[in-house]
């Protein structure tokens, strides 16, 4: 005679006293050979897969679940589905005051390595991204430096302007700081409908703020007294210290990567390379202030020439096919699979691309051995190198001058430390 023993000390059906799901033990004792075995339903546990793309998993979480009826016996989570199929988001976080320009710098290096020619619309969009970054970075520099030297009002004006660019960046990318706007071979997204009008409005009103800042600071006795003749470097010293960007140009070296090693068709834009004379804190201020006007000019020209057409190249090695095609077209699905699973493979070789970032020359140096991961990705950090001249500039000056000199270097520690 068969006897079923079931532990019945249950608070809730299916759960034991400690709230753990019960494995119903079936002990069959002394079953005579003649009796047909009862179906062991309790042993029929079901395995189901939940996610990774399921509305209830709050993101791409995959759960493998063992079920006894509707009671969950075991949950095995699998992580690691949240991955960026490209490495761009890292570049946001180096010089986080000009994330879009960093994105562009990396994408240009990867495209040079892979021999990809980007589309005309993408080229202009990237120019817009770079020049917007220059303006917000210089505005932060201007605001914080004026606070360092005791002038509070320009800080408010500068951050107000930065806020307007941040709104545009948010409109474009959904993020204010971590934009990740480029992709190798294109952009994360085309600009939204209202973007052009918003940016045009900005370029028309921004010069007014610049001239206000100019009127408040440029001939201000305190400002002039704190900055002129402080931390001066000659042209030869600036070159010998490998300075770049406004630091180099303020010392009178007319070197601008946009003009001297053009990328993104910068040679076709009408703008001036701003050069200082004395290489002191005051000249660095003048150079950055005027560069904002020049960036504004470039933005205006870019808006006029912005062509229609595709943003991304038609290259299945680097650009994911649209989701609808990946789900319906075999070839597109294979490309999608290969790109996500294997990554983007670059040919053997190496490429260095320097771009004129707000802080100076941002270099991206990529070395590939043919696999999907670079052997070496080196960022030449302009803040780091400009900062290395700080001792040279500040030694012999007053402590209060050190504050002004340090501010004039325009560092961002996210880039110095990387």
């Amino acid at each position: 005679m068969s006897k079923r023993t079931v532990e019945l000390d249950l608070a809730t059906p299916g759960l034991d006293a400690r709230g753990q799901p019960v494995r119903v033990p079936l002990a069959v004792a002394d079953a005579p050979e003649s009796t047909p075995p009862e179906p062991d339903l309790a042993g029929e546990h079901m395995l189901i897969n939940l996610g990774p793309q399921h509305p209830a998993t709050h993101g791409v979480l995959r759960l493998v679940v063992e079920l006894d009826g509707e009671t969950v016996v075991r949950v095995i989570p699998h992580l690691g589905y949240r991955h960026y199929n490209q490495i761009i988001p890292l570049t946001d976080r180096t010089d986080y005051l000009s994330p879009m320009a960093n994105n562009v710098g990396f994408a240009l290096a990867a495209e040079k390595l892979m021999g990809i020619e980007i589309t005309p619309r993408c080229t202009v969009l990237r120019v817009i991204a770079c020049e917007m970054s220059r303006i917000i970075s210089h505005m932060v520099w201007l605001g914080t430096t004026s606070i360092d030297l005791g002038a509070f009002t320009p800080f408010l004006w500068a951050f107000q302007e930065r806020e307007r660019i941040y709104n545009l960046q948010e409109m474009w990318t959904g993020a204010r700081l971590t934009t990740s706007v480029t992709r190798v071979g294109g952009m994360m997204a085309d600009i939204p409908d209202d973007f052009v009008a918003g940016l045009r409005d900005f370029t028309q009103t921004f010069p007014r703020t610049l001239s206000e800042i100019d009127r408040v600071l440029t001939r201000n006795a305190v400002w002039v007294g704190r900055t002129q003749g402080v931390g001066a470097l000659t042209a030869a010293e600036a070159i010998n210290h490998s300075l770049s960007g406004p630091m180099l140009r303020a010392s009178g070296v007319p070197y601008d990567v946009r003009r001297d090693k053009p990328y993104l068709d910068y040679e076709t834009y009408d703008f001036d390379v701003v050069v200082g004379e004395h290489g002191d804190v005051y000249d660095r201020y003048l150079v950055r202030l005027e560069e904002c006007s020049q960036s504004n000019r470039i933005l205006q020209q870019a808006l006029v020439r912005l062509p229609d057409g595709p943003v991304n190249v038609a290259d299945p090695r680097v650009i994911l096919p649209p989701k609808s095609r990946a789900m319906n077209d075999m070839e597109a699905m294979i490309y999608h699979f290969k790109q996500v699973m294997e990554g983007v493979k670059a040919p053997v070789g190496e490429a260095y691309v320097g771009i004129e970032n707000p802080k100076g020359e941002l270099g991206n140096y990529l070395v590939s051995d043919g696999s999907a991961k670079p052997v070496r990705w080196r960022i030449r950090p302009p803040s780091f190198i400009n900062l290395s001249a700080l001792s040279k500039m500040a030694e012999g000056h007053l402590l209060s001058d050190l504050i002004a000199i340090n501010a004039s270097v325009d560092i961002v520690m996210g880039e110095v430390d990387r």
Binding site: G115, S242, Y255, K261, Y365, V375, R378, R380, L387, A389
Partner: protein
């Protein structure tokens, strides 16, 4: 290819290794012993005029047999010409190369970073210390391919070291000698400081 490579070969002969081109950039390999001479020549010869040092870094390949490369990006501002100079070092052997700080002050921190991350020693560098990692960091060189992702020490050991660190170890002895903290220093440290020694901090009291 950048014509400088042929001129270099004509001037320095065997010290110049292969020259090649990748993605439009010219790369030239130079023997380690000849680095300082060739760099000086590249900087000071008027027709070359590579007056600007863009970057110094190193590359180690996944292939362990391939040498580690120290990479210098040079630029002539006037001629708008770029040249990438490489020196090959045996990754298992002596990672020493002459410092170019006497030529370009800008190499100072760049060489320190390369030392910090790859363990390349730059002979003649005025102040070769770690720069991104702290000075007493003892786990090795983080960008070497044989460096474990989370460091050489266990997490417990890393925490133990972090908690047990002497706060004054965050200052160099030179810096401590500036501050009043000098009087608080252990005797042997004072002794070494008096002799101008700026090496590792003492293990013992």
């Amino acid at each position: 290819m950048n014509p400088t490579v042929e001129t270099l070969r004509a001037t320095f002969g065997n010290a110049i290794g292969r020259g090649l081109e990748s993605c439009g950039d010219t790369i030239v390999y130079i023997a380690r012993e000849a680095l300082l001479d060739t760099m000086t020549w590249l900087r000071d010869t008027p027709e070359q005029g590579y007056d600007y040092l863009v970057d110094v870094t190193a590359v180690e390949y996944r292939d362990r047999e391939r040498p580690l490369e120290v990479v210098y990006q040079l630029r002539s501002l006037a001629r708008r010409a770029d040249l990438r100079v490489k020196v090959e070092l045996d990754g298992h052997g002596d990672l020493t190369v002459d410092s170019v700080v006497p030529l370009w002050r800008g190499a100072d921190w760049l060489e320190r970073e390369t030392f910090d991350m790859f363990g390349v020693t730059f002979r003649g560098h005025p102040d070769l210390r770690r720069i991104l990692m702290w000075e007493t960091y003892a786990e090795g060189y983080p960008l070497r391919k044989d460096f474990p992702l989370r460091g050489r020490f266990s997490r417990a050991e890393q925490v133990r070291q972090a908690l047990g660190a002497n706060p004054e170890a965050h200052y160099s002895m030179e810096e401590l000698s500036i501050a009043e903290a000098y009087d608080e220093l252990p005797a042997d440290m004072k002794e070494r400081l008096r002799h101008g020694d700026r090496g590792k901090l003492a293990d013992t009291e």
